[in-house]
């Protein structure tokens, strides 16, 4: 085990990359740091962070969930429909989070209960949930939402603050829990060595089930925090969210083989990938290159990880 700051090499690397990007922006395009722009950036990325917290749990437990884009779409529609029944917004939020947890529990039951591979299970539930939603709604957006739906009825400024605060509270709570609670350590244990975890009295299957349930619940919250920014709910929302979130988690240094990584890394990953697009615009490049650059960042991040061991084992491989 590496000691001291070496343990956080990836986090430091991503932080350095982010610092370079921000320094470049400070010199070339100081307008990037205008209050309005930074606020837009925070509001746009807060829901991504919430989903990424859930994905961090799932990946730490050595699993993956590619169905969250579909869960996100269903939860957004559920938020709209619940709000239209006249339910107050706090209860709408609770209801949607519970619905998301239920969807996550389906994945959890199939993966942890039946022992099926997560990537195939969530590929299947991604398709089933997305097509099921399209069948029921026939692609029609949820419109005529009550006044108090948009921005939680707090007005634009208040609503935006609420979104960012909610995301940061979730982040802080899980970051603390993963480090300080027995349940948090159990996620690391189950992810790094399920058999060893079992021998010390942890139930890896329960941990995996719980990770999927949290993933669903946080996806539900993410959907609410996104839906309230608009006056309609699109039924096609969330397509591709899974790739975006997994990319942020991986760039942040969470190992896909489980058991290694931190939520601080995830926060940095979300921030770096979320900043690239707007930064391109401010630097005068076409925004169309955003995805290419994100891909390059992912590859660069994982390659620099692998490089030292590559050099060491070159003769053998």
């Amino acid at each position: 085990m590496t000691r001291g700051l070496g343990r956080y090499r990836r986090e430091l690397g991503v932080a350095a990359a982010l610092a370079v990007l921000l320094a470049l922006l400070a010199v070339k395009a100081p307008a990037f740091f205008a209050g309005a722009n930074l606020r837009d950036l925070l509001v746009a990325n807060a829901p991504v962070l919430v989903a990424a917290v859930g994905m961090t749990l799932v990946v730490l437990a050595r699993q993956i969930d590619i169905s969250i884009g579909s869960q996100f779409a269903i939860c957004g529609v559920a938020a709209g429909l619940l709000a239209k029944t006249g339910l107050p917004m706090p209860f709408v939020t609770i209801g949607v989070v519970a619905a998301g947890a239920g969807l996550g529990a389906i994945n959890g039951a199939l993966v942890a209960g039946l022992g099926l591979p997560a990537i195939v299970v969530t590929l299947a539930t991604m398709v089933v949930l997305r097509e099921g939603l399209r069948w029921r709604t026939e692609g029609v957006w949820i419109q005529d939402l009550p006044e108090r739906f948009q921005w939680f009825g707090l007005g634009q400024a208040g609503g935006r603050t609420a979104i960012v605060v909610a995301a940061l509270v979730v982040f802080a709570a899980f970051a603390w829990g993963l480090r300080r609670l027995a349940a948090g350590r159990a996620v690391y244990a189950a992810g790094s060595d399920p058999e060893a975890a079992r021998l010390v009295g942890i139930h890896p299957r329960r941990v995996i089930f719980a990770a999927f349930v949290f993933m669903g619940a946080l996806t539900g919250l993410s959907a609410v925090l996104t839906a309230i920014q608009f006056i309609d709910v699109q039924t096609s929302a969330g397509a591709g969210l899974e790739m975006k979130v997994i990319a942020a988690v991986v760039v942040g240094g969470v190992a896909i083989s489980g058991g290694r990584g931190t939520l601080v890394g995830t926060l940095l990953g979300v921030t770096l990938l979320g900043t690239i697009g707007p930064a391109l615009t401010f630097l005068g490049t076409q925004a169309y290159w955003e995805r290419a650059l994100q891909g390059a960042v992912i590859l660069l991040a994982v390659s620099t990880d692998a490089l030292p061991s590559f050099v060491r084992t070159r003769g053998g491989a």
Binding site: L114, V121, Y288, I298
Partner: protein, 328 residues
């Protein structure tokens, strides 16, 4: 050549379980044909069979190559994006550089091979998990296609020779692109089931370490499967552009998931080592018939997706009961 048979031999399945999966799939395909022949209008016609085959070629090419990739225990999420990149570069080579369409098609395949080499280098040389590598190149390839076309440029006006490949029929009413899929299927079947390379590919899927100790050149085999995967994505790009008569940056979005579905439904273990090329073809046919049949039977299109997902979980669940080794 080393004798890869000794490397990480699979726990020999009993004879009756060995072909269960393919048998069940075949029964499913027959049941689908029987049901839709009654429920759908014009389902049981040669014309419709051609349409089903035509619609399956691009996904089929990707799924065949993915079978080999997944047999090594890997995955390639980048094939749909690579298809898109190859398609727009082919369109540009033809329209902007005025290269003959045959050369432009070679450009598409070359782009695919190049993408495959990048994936292979990161997987085999640097040892980065394939899921992560191809997630990165999934964004990278699509992103380059988007940047290159400015997000809007659409390449059309392909010559009749290319459009024939995508829309024409050979004597006997066979859609012109179907022989390509047949050739690719024969190639991959021979490679996987009849060569030492195929045995090596499975051995890597069971245990990369064991395969290495058995003298299998693991890095070279991985290079081969990812390059083939890229090459098939390039070829699929040519067929795609020929069928639709256009190439945009979003060409082939989501195709990777359809292809993975066909492979896994076909009985290939996502952990590698176990699976067959004919299983993949059956999986492909089962999904294609379902989509086509439900449409002709006036059922909602979404039902095909839902049933495919349920079938997928049912298939791996059944596989698990038959004794898939767990790697929880």
């Amino acid at each position: 050549m080393a004798a890869p048979e000794v490397a990480a031999a699979p726990p020999a399945p009993r004879a009756w379980t060995r072909h269960t999966h393919e048998g069940l799939l075949l029964a499913l395909v027959i049941a689908e044909v029987a049901y839709f022949a009654h429920a759908g209008s014009n389902f049981f016609t040669t014309g419709n069979a051609g349409e089903v085959a035509r619609a399956s070629v691009e996904i089929g090419l990707l799924a065949l190559a993915l079978t080999a990739v997944i047999l090594t225990g890997g995955i390639d999420l980048s094939v749909g994006s690579l298809l898109g990149l190859a398609a727009v570069l082919m369109g540009s080579a033809h329209r902007d550089l005025h290269w003959p369409i045959g050369v432009a098609a070679l450009v598409a395949v070359a782009v695919g091979v190049g993408g495959g080499v990048l994936n292979a280098a990161l997987v085999a040389r640097l040892g980065v998990p394939p899921l992560i590598v191809t997630l990165g190149t999934y964004s990278l390839f699509r992103g380059i296609a988007e940047g290159f076309t400015g997000g809007i440029r659409n390449y059309t006006d392909f010559p009749p020779a290319l459009l024939f490949l995508g829309q024409g029929r050979l004597p006997g009413g066979i859609p012109a692109q179907v022989p390509l899929l047949v050739l690719a299927a024969v190639f991959f079947w021979l490679l996987v089931h009849r060569t030492p390379i195929g045995r090596g590919v499975r051995a890597i899927g069971f245990s990369p370490e064991g395969a290495r100790f058995a003298g299998i050149p693991v890095a070279r085999r991985l290079l081969l499967v990812y390059v083939l995967s890229g090459a098939m994505a390039g070829l699929a790009a040519v067929v795609y552009a020929a069928r639709l008569g256009q190439a945009k940056a979003d060409a082939g979005s989501g195709y990777e998931l359809f292809a993975i579905t066909a492979v896994v439904l076909g009985g290939t273990s996502i952990f590698g080592g176990r699976g067959t090329v004919h299983g993949t073809l059956l999986g492909l046919i089962a999904v294609a018939l379902l989509q086509n049949g439900l449409r002709l039977a006036d059922q909602p299109a979404e039902l095909a997706g839902i049933l495919t997902g349920v079938l997928l979980i049912g298939a791996i669940g059944a596989n698990r009961l038959v004794g898939e080794r767990s790697r929880a």
